[in-house]
Amino acid sequence: MKERFIEIFIKSFAWLSGLLLLSAAFVIIGFLLVKGVPTLSLSLIFGDTSPADALLLRRQVLTGLFPAMAGTCLLVLLSVGLATPVGLAAGIYLAEYSRGNLKSFFSLFYDILAGVPSIVIGLFGFSLAISLHHYVKEIYPCLLISALALAFLVLPYLIRTTQFAMESIPSETRLTAPALGATKLQNIAYVLFPRSLPGIASGVILAIGRCAEDTAVIMLTGVVAAAGIPGSLLSAYEALPFYIYYISSQYRDAYELQTGYGAAVILLIICACLFLAAFYLKNQLMDRMLYRQ
């Protein structure tokens, strides 16, 4: 009798928590879509400026989301561009060259770095900017500093995904090239690296997603509410997630609030697309691994 009771209790608890989670998620996303989708239009993005003029940078967009979207794009390109080469190289070192104590020492450091809260990374970026300011007067918190700090944030993830992708290559594949007389570097360059590319690519896409969504880091390192398209690496800039945060706390009228909903929907769509791309690449990897062998 007691067993029966426990069984029913656990089953209903599991169903309850699963359904609660799903419904909460659907309420959150549904609320955003219902409020946000009707606001989506070209004028939301470009304001009164014509899209062609804005895209060719002939005229400033003053009321639309275009500067924030451009800022986010530039930021993502820069930070992922900075982090990817270092992350891949370190990942390759971890997977192929380091052994024993050295390896666990390195991975401990990366684990700690991955666990450091993003606001602390932002604070580090900010301190870096003010320290550099003593030597180079032009450096304030700016696009470049934000990109650097974001690169620090995603570096451990890149390293780990690269390492994991390389290490999960089966040993038959791993030993073929050396058996034919290839050196270690040749083996990495012609066999192991190309083979783990889909896994690495999905890691890079997830890193792009993290850069696009992160707000805490950029808040401390140079994002502002109104700056237009950044003119150089050392200027302030706008970004979508910060715009959303800013609107939620200081919107002045209903129209501004509407643009906030619009911005949130746009960010959600961007992140969902990136996520699906990463997912697709990962599955591609699985298929290739399964069918080619």
Partner: protein, 284 residues
């Protein structure tokens, strides 16, 4: 052969560079917060209240705010995640379980700022109406939304652990005629104790490191919270709010103390997970 050497040095350089960042962040925090440590007043800082008018710059209220929000959000998120992962791995029919897992994976990709935004315009008014108290920006609102942020990752860790039990264990339970729930209770859960604990600790780290939810939903009042409907400020939100202050002020220096506390906390959590993982290896 020269190229081999060159490449290896390059890879090593990247690895050392990335690892040194971890140390560099700590050094920066220590160096810039240094004026606070002289005379051993760092620990008094952690236990005194915040009252700039009287010259008191303790971060105790923020520490209390952080701990209460983290604790409360885990109180919601942990049972929820455990139940949901039991549903996904054991109880639900395969099709629905797959759908749930896909949805949970998608949820991990939603930006935190969006959770915060929806929280401000949906959850906060709701809490305000429900409890008819103040602005609705409270520990309760922040912890509810934060539990939504940390649950998906926790569920993924739990389901991974549940699904990693050896097939022979699972088959043995089936052969003895165990129902799915009995299998969960007597085989899967005891076997995944360490995985569950590790997932819980990692979630504590995530909840503690989150800035935006608390910043947007907890109201940021600098006082030790007395109830869950009180407004509170977390260490992370404190850093975000004070950054605009005058650079030479003591007020500004306290954010490095807050950063240091966060760094030390999260690092010890990671070390704890490692130690548990090491114990798990030995036991098997």
């Amino acid at each position: 052969m020269k190229r081999e050497c060159f490449a290896e040095t390059g890879f090593l350089g990247a690895a050392v560079l990335s690892a040194s960042l971890t140390a560099l962040i700590l050094i920066f925090m220590l160096f810039l917060g240094f004026p606070l440590f002289r005379g051993g007043c760092f620990f008094t800082l952690l236990t005194t209240p915040w009252n700039p008018d009287k010259g008191l710059f303790g971060i105790y209220p923020m520490l209390a705010g952080t701990l209460s929000i983290v604790f409360l959000s885990l109180c919601w998120a942990f049972p929820l995640s455990l139940g949901a992962s039991a549903l996904i791995s054991v109880i639900a029919p395969t099709g629905f379980a797959k759908f749930c897992k896909k949805t949970v994976q998608m949820l991990t990709g939603i930006p935190t700022v969006i959770y915060g935004f929806v929280g401000v315009f949906l959850l906060v008014p709701f809490i305000r109406e429900m409890f008819a108290s103040g602005s609705g920006m409270s520990i309760l609102s922040a912890s509810l939304m934060l539990s939504m942020v940390i649950s998906p990752t926790m569920i993924l860790i739990f389901t991974d652990t549940f699904e990693s039990i050896p097939a022979s264990y699972s088959a043995a339970a089936d052969a003895l005629g165990a129902s799915p729930v009995q299998k969960l209770l007597y085989v899967i859960l005891p076997y995944s104790r360490q995985g569950i604990f590790a997932g819980l600790i990692l979630s504590v780290g995530r909840a503690m490191g989150d800035t935006l939810i608390a910043l947007m939903l907890a109201g940021n009042a600098v006082a030790v919270p007395g109830s869950i409907l009180d407004s509170a400020r977390t260490l992370t939100a404190h850093i975000a709010l004070v950054i605009a202050a005058d650079f030479d002020s003591i007020e500004f220096k306290t954010i490095f103390a807050a950063g240091l506390v966060l760094y030390v906390f999260t690092t010890s959590l990671i070390l704890l997970v490692r130690i548990i993982g090491g114990m798990g290896m030995k036991n098997r």
